[in-house]
Structure formats: structure tokens, C-alpha cells
Symmetry: C2
Subunit: 211 residues, 2 copies
Amino acid sequence: MSVRAEQKQKTRRALMDAALTQLSPEKGFASLSLREVAREAGIAPTSFYRHFNELDELGLALVDEAGVTLRQLMRQARKRIEKGGSAVGTSIETFMEYLSSNPNHFRLLLRERTGISKAFRTAIKAELDHFATELAEDLKRAGDLKDRPLDDPQMVADAMVAIIFNQGSEALDSSPKEKATLKERLKIELKYILRGAEIITIENRAKNKAD
Amino acid sequence: MSVRAEQKQKTRRALMDAALTQLSPEKGFASLSLREVAREAGIAPTSFYRHFNELDELGLALVDEAGVTLRQLMRQARKRIEKGGSAVGTSIETFMEYLSSNPNHFRLLLRERTGISKAFRTAIKAELDHFATELAEDLKRAGDLKDRPLDDPQMVADAMVAIIFNQGSEALDSSPKEKATLKERLKIELKYILRGAEIITIENRAKNKAD
DNA sequence: TGTACATCAGTGAACGCGCGTTCACTGATGTAC
DNA sequence: TGTACATCAGTGAACGCGCGTTCACTGATGTAC
């Protein structure tokens, strides 16, 4: 890459980091201003336009980044499970690590999922659907392997993602102690769903035989 | 009430309705301006201060209102169930009716739950906790009655509320046809949780006996 | 290698805009006698 | 019932502010020969 292209890349990165850094419980992406972000990144407001057409374009780049990280994470969790960890426990552990190391990426997903901008909502929904679909495949594989197939792996995964995100939002701004409690709760709630979906398969089979 | 007090009450109502009306998929409470709301309500911007100290105070009044409506709704659902409706089915039906008739109240809860203002988050969390706790009591009562007690009714209720709200947000801006599909999905996902929590009670009992 | 020209990331001045908030006011409603 | 005064919801002018965006520019980097 040429010197010029490298420098441009660096500034782009600085802009994205500036936006990300400014997120907090009291400040959402929607309440950032272009001038604020440029200031934080150390460039003139007008220079912003050399990199993005508008602030939302930067936001969407961040959503994309959050998605990439999330997928890396899943691959990681899968490896740990293959090496013999408990599926639910390991997944929760991995997810909580993601939360701690990328709180603002998660904050962005969490908030803009129900936010003002259609583009954000669509992009985030796509990331979450992708996440849920991969999870569904994992669940199906695991269920078949243990000979305890799930009633509808996709629905199980959807329900799990809803609960994971809900608890994630509570975990974001809580103390380590509270986090431990939340992990326990999350584990139990996910088990309800899993066991329920296993049992319903069995019940439906019995019903079909009876017919 | 004196004429003056009545008129004041009316204007206050007009302000709250103005704010509520302006909410939409593209506009959240956080992106309303005091001037906009006053304009919509037909008063001068300065008159706003005769009713609220700031825009957020109006928003919190709306959250409170949403909570009241939500509780009325639960009482209604409980009555219908006592008259012999299916518990899960009736609850979902009632909730979806709430969504359709108070979309903007729900939008407010949904968005500001993860929003910028601590006061909003706290107020909404209190409403949802209250909702979940009442639900937990209902679930416990129903489970004991059928002699299929739930492992931990409060957790079951928490998980259910997370899923209900998640699906509610999808249902908000979807067609009647999509709504029907969502209702089915919601029903199944809630059943997973319920059945799971029932089974785990049984399994734990067996385990305790074995010890 | 040296020269002449092209590209383009970053700039500072300037713009018009809607915002929240203050202030001193008006005039209808309410109250005391 | 009538009168004199108090209350207070609603007002219009004015303020300073930060915003997004435009524009013509600068000067370092890149390219062609």
C-alpha cells in the first residue's frame, strides 16, 4: 500500500475508534455529532467527508466490524466445545468475554437494533439472524449426536439469541459480582429452552405413534 | 376542577399526545425536540415549561402511562384465562392486541429501555420487573394447580418477558400476515421454556431421591 | 535520476438553521371582602 | 352581587450555541516521461 493510502487508512481507523470510544451508557451513536467525532479523531470536521459520506456510513462500518468479531468468537467457542467443554457453559463464557472486551461494539448492536435508522436495523438484524442460524446448526448437530433431537433448532436458536442479548444488555454495566449471577441465570434459562425443545420432540413422536 | 385547572390538564394531555404521535420507526423520543412537541400541541415553545421542567419529564410520564396500560392488560388476560382460555395462547393474544392499540407506548418502552437516559432505563426496568413478577406469580399458581410445578417461576417469567419483548419489536412494524407467523413462533418458544422448567423440576426431584 | 504535472487528504472561513432557555408581558380566571 | 387584587397559563422577542455542509485552497505524495 502506498504511503498515501496507508495514511488514509489510519485516519479512517481513527474516526471509527473515535466514534466507538465516545459510546457509553449516556451516549448512543445517534447522539454523536460529526464534529465531535472529527474532533476526537484529531481532524477538521470537513475532512470527515474524505472517508464517509455521512456519520451513519461510519456507524454501519462499525456494525459490520461487530459482526465479524461476533463470528470469530463463535468459531472460537466451537473449538473449545469440540475439545470437550460443556456446550451451554462454554458459549456463555465466550459471549461474556466478548462483552467485556468489546462493550461498545455490543452497545452499538444493542441500541441501534431498535434505533431510528432503517439501515442500522436491517444490518443488525442480518448479523443476528446469521448468528442465530449458525447457532441453530450447532444445536441440531449436537442434538442429533446425543440422540436427543430438538423440536425446531431454528426456533430454539432464536429464543436463545433473544435471551442472550437481553441479559447481555444487563451485564454490560454491572459489577463482576452481578455478572456472575447473570451468567448463572442465563445458563438456567437457556437450559429450560433446550430441555423443553428436547421433550417436545419426544412428546410429538409419542403422539404420532398413537395416531 | 376549576376551569383553569381543566384547561391546564387539557394542554398537558395535548403535549403528551403530541410527543406520542410523533414517534415512529424513524423517530424515537430521544430525537424529538421541545419546540417540535410544542408546535404539534399547538402552544408556544415557552409554554411547555408551565407543564414540565424538561422534555424527559414528559417522557417519563409517558413511560408511567405505558406501565399502567400494561397492568390493566394483564388483569384482563387473567380474567379471560380464568374463564377457561389457554394460558399461553390468551396471554399472547392479549399482548398482541396491546401492541396494535398502543404501538407508540410500546415503541417508547422498547427503545428507551436501552436508551441514553438513566432515568428512562430505570423507570422502564421497574415496569418490566413488575410485569415479570406478576407473571411469575401467575405461572407458579398455574403450575401448582396442575401439579406440574415450575423449577423457578421467576426465571421462567424473566425469560418469557425477554422473548415477548423481542418478538414484540418485530411485530410492531409487520403486516397482519407476518404477525400471525410471529404469534405462532412466540407460542412455541414460550412452550419450550414452560415445558423445560416443568421437566427440570421432575428431574431434580428424581435426583434428590437418588441421593 | 530529474522534471513537470496530476492527484487528493486535509484545511479554515463561512453559511444558514433549529435548538433550549430567559425574560418581561398579557389577560382570563380565581379569591377575598 | 360588585369590586379590587392575586394568580398563573400562555406569549413573542431575543440570546447564544453547536450543528452539517459548501467552498476554494494547500502542499505532500504519486506518476509519466
